[in-house]
């Protein structure tokens, strides 16, 4: 291969790239801006505290149980609870200022207490929610279940309302036509529960009845590269956006080749004693360099500003980055080979790149995809690129973790390059 023409092509392409301010901004600055935005969303607040769901609770009951529910919700680390009037709460949800409003209707506590022992109709809590935030509704429903159960059971087993209900219920049980042994067992149980909570209070060993609580605790540990290494969502977002703009830059390279052909420049290149391989290799080399610079600038920024670190293998990170850049470069060649006119190709290419990065998990992690889609996206090169960079950054996997993504990406590069060479229009009439 003739090195002088090859190096001249690389140098010329880099000169052209850097002479186009818009292209430089799009390639370097825009991915940083978008990745910073996505990173801030997926990383949560930098203090480490989880983002709280905004909930308005309207207590129209004002019973001991409803007050305990409000109090429990206000103490929950996942919720930010306000207690506005009902009209105000509705307006806040409608305007999107609050995700959910919980309305505790009048008589809720009394009815819930009776329903707790199974002899009353279940009262309803009204949940008014913003339809654009249904994921939060499911979370709030679960959290409320815990607080309602705790408040109702606490009151039923130890509170005034509970004692009154038991006192009211015991004669009803005695008078019922229930079999004698069952009747005796139920009465004994209710009396022992009352006795237990009364005992605990008198002995001063507890501040009061505890109610039913979750019978287990959860130790949450993020599985990152090390015990002292926190997950950094910016690592994923910079990988995703880096790949996205790498592919856009490569697509532009392909369109540039079409423009060169349109302007007659390709005739001049073809008239020189330079092989077809050198011409394609020169283009691929310049694009690979631009791609590597894109990733280097993006991750350099992420490291300096957002504390992203290569927790895995540095060699692995470089290998995956190189394979990504080469894959993108050959993707650009393929566009040049298959495209007819620059204008028509630009539209199709934009769609192709967006599909590729979306399915590859560059925008949102692939684990939120349906199972079948997660399986299907292994044929998308962007998926391997993002997974490979994730593996070398926040997952902290070693060199072995880079092996498969690198090999697969190089495989894509070979396939794209071969297809481009086979379909390239070499005849310049």
């Amino acid at each position: 291969m003739a090195m002088i023409p090859l190096l001249a092509m690389v140098r010329k392409d880099l000169q052209l790239f850097f002479s186009d301010t818009r292209a430089v901004i799009v390639t370097f600055a825009v991915p940083i801006a978008i990745a910073s935005f996505f990173g801030s969303i997926f990383s949560g607040p930098r203090s480490g505290a989880p983002a709280r769901i905004s909930v308005a609770v309207v207590d129209k009951d004002a019973s001991a149980i409803s007050k305990a529910i409000v109090s429990g919700a206000q103490g929950d680390k996942n919720l930010r609870v306000g207690t506005p009037a009902e009209d105000e709460a509705r307006a806040a949800v409608r305007a999107g200022r609050t995700s959910i409003a919980v309305v505790i209707p009048k008589g809720f506590g009394d009815a819930a207490g009776k329903a707790f022992f199974g002899n009353g109709e279940k009262p309803a809590l009204d949940l008014l929610y913003d339809p654009s935030r249904t994921v939060e509704v499911a979370m709030v429903r679960g959290i409320l279940t815990e607080h309602v159960m705790q408040a109702v059971s606490k009151e039923m087993f130890g509170g005034e309302q509970g004692r009154a209900v038991v006192a009211q219920t015991l004669p009803q049980i005695e008078a019922s036509k229930m079999p004698e042994d069952q009747k005796r067992a139920l009465v004994d149980m209710l009396k022992s529960v009352q006795g237990f909570y009364g005992q605990a209070t008198r002995d001063g060993q507890a501040t009061g009845p505890r109610g039913i609580t979750m019978p287990y605790a959860v130790n949450e540990r993020a599985m990152t590269s090390g015990s002292n290494v926190a997950y950094n969502g910016y690592a994923h977002s910079f990988a995703g956006m880096g790949i996205q703009f790498l592919l856009f830059a490569a697509a532009n390279l392909g369109i540039e080749i079409l423009l060169e052909r349109q302007r007659g420049l390709w005739k001049r290149l073809r008239s020189a004693p330079v092989s077809r391989f050198t011409l394609l290799a020169g283009k691929a080399a310049s694009m690979t360099i631009v791609g590597l610079m894109t990733l280097a600038v993006s991750f350099g920024f992420a490291m300096a500003v957002f504390g992203v670190r290569i927790q895995g293998s540095l060699i692995g990170f470089i290998s995956v980055s190189f394979a990504c850049a080469l894959m993108a470069a050959t993707f650009g060649l393929l566009i040049a080979a298959l495209g007819k006119t620059p204008a028509a190709t630009r539209g199709v290419t934009t769609l192709a790149v967006l599909m590729m990065v979306m399915l590859g998990g560059a925008w949102v992690p692939t684990f939120i995809f349906p199972a079948w889609l997660q399986q299907a996206t292994v044929i998308v090169p962007a998926r391997w690129a993002v997974d490979g960079l994730d593996a070398m950054t926040w997952r902290g996997l070693g060199l072995r973790g880079a092996l498969m993504p690198t090999v697969v990406l190089l495989g894509f590069a070979v396939a794209f390059g071969a297809l481009a060479a086979a379909r390239f229009r070499w005849e310049e009439a």
């Binding site: 001249a8 052209l16 302007r263 330079v274």
Partner: protein, 259 residues
């Protein structure tokens, strides 16, 4: 083509032998044969779609001939990397230049395609720019150039590697009379240096002024291959005045539109 005299004159610098090219059912070039000697400018004339550009493209190696040969100094041109391609300089009809780069950067790139580097490349760039009168604009971006300056730079790009043969595909399209005249002067200089020039054009007055021989091509076939005087004689009415080239051309190719 064979002449009396020295042995080297037996072999033309460029010889096109029975070239044929078809695009599907359309035969664009059909058994085209002609030669260009060193220090000679051959005008390749023909109506639109006659096959001129296809012929030039085959000579430059841009497209593969279905049949026939292109001989450079007697050597058959074969393949993309044939060293004989170094002896050919192409000046395409399009302004094949990178507008965002300077004139020097453009020439540096095109020179490197012919393995020119370092001081040799610098000298070649200086000589080419000097010839076309753009030495003082070497550091300016091409996008700041006028149409005529771009045409002259387009010519300079084809000369960098000092080719023996220059293929000029309508090199004066869209330029003002001053730039056209400057290009003509450049071509005269090149002829004087012994270069073989193949010049396609629609402008009859250009061919009349520059060409030593004229090849008229129509429907892919050579319909005339002679000197200007010879062509005029061919179509002259017996006893009448010699027609000009345009009349001769129209007589040879007809008056029907070829759009």
């Amino acid at each position: 083509m064979e002449r009396e005299g020295s042995a080297e004159r037996l072999i033309p610098m460029l010889h096109v032998n029975n070239l044929r090219k078809a695009f599907g059912s359309l035969v664009a070039v059909d058994d085209v044969t002609f030669s260009v000697e060193p220090g000679q400018l051959v005008g390749l004339l023909g109506p639109n779609g006659a096959g001129k550009t296809t012929t030039v493209s085959m000579i430059a190696g841009l497209i593969t001939a279905d049949r026939g040969d292109v001989l450079i100094g007697g050597q058959r041109l074969d393949g993309d990397t044939d060293p004989s391609k170094r002896r050919i300089g192409l000046v395409p009809q399009d302004l094949a230049l990178y507008e965002e780069l300077t004139a020097r950067a453009n020439l540096r790139f095109f020179g490197a395609l012919y393995n020119l580097t370092g001081a040799r490349l610098d000298r070649a760039i200086a000589a080419a720019l000097d010839l076309v009168g753009l030495a003082d604009r070497a550091g300016d971006r091409v996008k700041t150039f006028s149409g005529g300056m771009k045409r002259r730079l387009n010519l300079a790009a084809g000369l960098l590697h000092d080719p023996d043969i220059l293929l000029l595909d309508e090199p004066t399209v869209g330029v003002d009379p001053q730039s056209r005249n400057a290009i003509f002067d450049n071509l005269e200089v090149l002829k004087g240096r012994g270069k073989a020039l193949l010049y396609t054009t629609h402008y009859m007055e250009e061919a009349e002024r520059l060409a030593d021989r004229i090849v008229v091509i129509d429907h892919g076939k050579v319909v005339a291959n002679d000197t200007l005087a010879g062509l005029r004689s061919q179509v002259a009415v017996s006893g009448g005045a010699l027609p000009n080239l345009e009349t001769a051309f129209l007589t040879l190719t007809g008056r029907s539109l070829r759009d």
